[in-house]
């Protein structure tokens, strides 16, 4: 298992996370992440054979509640937080990555 992470891997993980780093940032982040991942490697020293993983400290399972319909009319307030709107809808750029003219 690689204990170091290289710039190529950082680029790949950034892609998965929908982030982008320029060359200067890659040069800064790669060794930082590398030294933290080296610290993660310390866990390998501990034998965990037969140990169950713990994902949450909660002791609650399958919590149910009544399914009650509630009226809400918060459209205006919600849209106020949207970066771009038109005609009461949230506006986004063209979804197709189209090389031809998309005429808007």
């Amino acid at each position: 298992m690689a204990s170091q992470i290289d710039q190529q891997q950082v680029k790949h993980v950034a892609e998965l996370a929908k982030l982008e780093f320029n060359d200067a940032e890659l040069a800064k982040f790669t060794p930082q992440l590398g030294s933290i991942i080296d610290m993660f490697e310390e866990l390998q020293a501990q034998n965990t054979d037969g140990v169950e993983p713990m994902y949450s400290p909660t002791d609650r399972v399958n919590v149910m509640r009544e399914d009650v319909a509630v009226k809400s009319n918060e459209r205006e307030a919600l849209l106020k937080n949207a970066p771009d709107t038109e005609g009461g809808l949230i506006k986004v750029p063209a979804i197709m990555d189209d090389e031809s003219e998309d005429g808007e």
Binding site: A17, V51, M54, Y55, P57, R60, V63, L78
Partner: protein
């Protein structure tokens, strides 16, 4: 007026008997904030106009006897959503975000007619231990303005230390209530996981996050925590256990005789600064003199794995929780994004700060194909071992004690370039969140004039024993009475 020594019960009585009005009190809070906040910078948003209006309305309605918080000014960490009041999580991503609903804790406080004076600074999305990761500015420690207030609830702790308010809400994912409380000589309690609804706390690590109070005293903390606790349909991890009236048993009869206190050897090892160790040893001696039984022959062997395991798990949860910031429905959208993919990538790249990006990267990496078993799942198994360490010790002890932090507040700028060193500061606080236990940081003394906090860890849902021990310590010492020299005379 400074709120450093104000007792909530007394204040409530003074409000009821009209010795002071809610409006006068609220004005006094803002006067104090104006006196201190140019230096301290605890607040991102002040709610002055709304707060004064609200106080006036409460005065007109009259202070209800059953509403302890009626007319009482308090502050709220800016990662807890407040309807109609900007909530930023100290991120450029949410710089202009106005929530359309209140967090459950805010609803509960509103039902008590509290006065929200404003939203306090934090590390962006609560990721960090110094508030230096705030996208807007760094909060300064009132005890020494060249030092950090700790984090991530640094604004809340600094506001209480500065005497701006009796209490301020914080959140604690890996120590974010307790560490700044330690650095600021105030009381901070992270309740048991599930004690307080997380609905409306901007999600970071959902299996770790917990809301709690930073206050000027143990009893005020107990009173305030009771009010925000309890089951909530909006948070299925919130517990339906009964919420005790913790403060009711904090009185002259409270004692620690026969209390079994464990001090694991890992909590006072060579990594702890000598000045801090001395303060904690004195505190333990004090408990012993009061009749408690101190057991130092205790080991929690997996403590050293707490930081790496925590940073894998909490970052993994963060990378998932922060996927929602896509530049579409709310939050920052990059102005130069021309395609949908660019909206995602450019908005996130420009909207998040470096520390948030590091956590997202670490989490995405730990969860990615080929690394999931070696990192995420390994850390989840280590989490089991850490929880077992606590269970083993708490089987025949009532509390675990040690320092909250290995050192007092450090200089602003001294650690920010080295994320790993910054992460290692959390070595004594993160294991508690791994296991979901309640824990408090309590003023215990000073190292070269800087506050040192005593860390008191209890059994799940046994906040009472922590409060009892904290109360007795506070009543028999005067560390909590010392205040930073700051803004204005009195």
């Amino acid at each position: 007026m400074k709120f450093n020594e104000t007792d909530l019960t007394q204040l409530h009585e003074d409000l009821q008997t009209k010795k002071i009005s809610a409006k006068e009190l609220t004005k006094a809070a803002f006067d104090r904030i104006k006196e201190t906040d140019d230096d301290v910078k605890a607040f991102i948003t002040l709610n002055e106009d709304e707060a004064l209006k609200r106080a006036e309305a409460i005065d007109n309605e009259g202070i209800a006897a059953d509403k302890l918080l009626a007319g009482v000014p308090l502050a709220v960490k800016d990662n807890i959503v407040t309807k109609g009041l900007k909530t930023t999580a100290a991120s450029k991503m949410l710089e202009n975000f106005t929530p359309i609903y209140d967090a459950t804790v805010i609803e509960k406080l509103n039902a008590q007619d509290f006065i929200n004076v404003g939203k306090t600074n934090l590390d962006e999305f609560a990721m960090g231990g110094s508030t230096e990761n705030s996208a807007f500015f760094t909060t300064h420690n009132p005890w020494d303005l060249t030092r950090v207030p700790g984090g991530s609830s640094g604004g809340s702790a600094a506001a209480v230390a500065a005497g701006d308010v009796i209490g301020a809400l914080g959140t604690d994912t890996g120590g974010s209530i307790r560490m700044p409380s330690s650095y600021n000589n105030v009381v901070g309690l992270k309740p048991t996981y599930g004690r307080v609804s997380r609905w409306g706390a901007i999600a970071f690590g959902s299996s770790f996050d917990q809301i709690g109070w930073i206050t000027n005293s143990v009893k005020n903390n107990a009173l305030l925590t009771e009010i925000i606790s309890g089951q909530d349909d909006h948070d299925m991890t919130s517990s339906d256990r009964q919420v005790p009236n913790w403060a009711a048993s904090l009185n002259e009869n409270t004692n620690v005789k026969g209390l079994r206190i464990a001090v694991p050897k890992e909590y006072l090892d060579e990594g702890i600064q000598p000045g801090v160790r001395a303060v904690i040893n004195n505190a333990l001696k004090h408990f012993e003199e009061l009749g408690a039984i101190i057991d130092t022959d205790v080991s929690m062997p997996h403590t050293k794995y707490g930081v790496p395991a925590y940073y894998i798990l909490a970052s993994s949860e963060a990378s998932s929780n922060l996927q929602r910031y896509d530049g579409i429905r709310y939050g920052f959208r990059a102005p130069d994004a021309k395609t949908l993919e660019e909206v995602y990538v450019k908005s996130r790249t420009q909207g998040f700060g470096d520390e948030v990006k590091r956590r997202i990267m670490l989490g995405t990496f730990s969860l990615s194909a080929g690394f999931y078993d070696a990192y995420f799942n390994k850390a989840a198994k280590i989490r089991t071992l850490i929880a077992q360490d606590f269970a083993n010790v708490l089987k025949d002890h009532d509390l675990i004690m040690g320092p909250t932090g290995a050192n007092p507040a450090f200089e602003i700028g001294s650690e920010i370039a080295d994320p790993k060193t910054m992460y290692m500061n959390d070595i004594l606080t993160v294991p508690v969140n791994m296991a979901g236990l309640p824990a408090m940081s309590l003023p215990a003394g000073f190292d070269n004039g800087l506050p040192v906090g005593l860390h008191i860890i209890g059994k799940a849902f046994d906040e009472q024993t922590i409060y009892n021990a904290g109360y007795v310590f506070e009543q028999t010492t005067d560390f909590h009475k010392q205040m930073p020299k700051l803004g204005g005379q009195d």
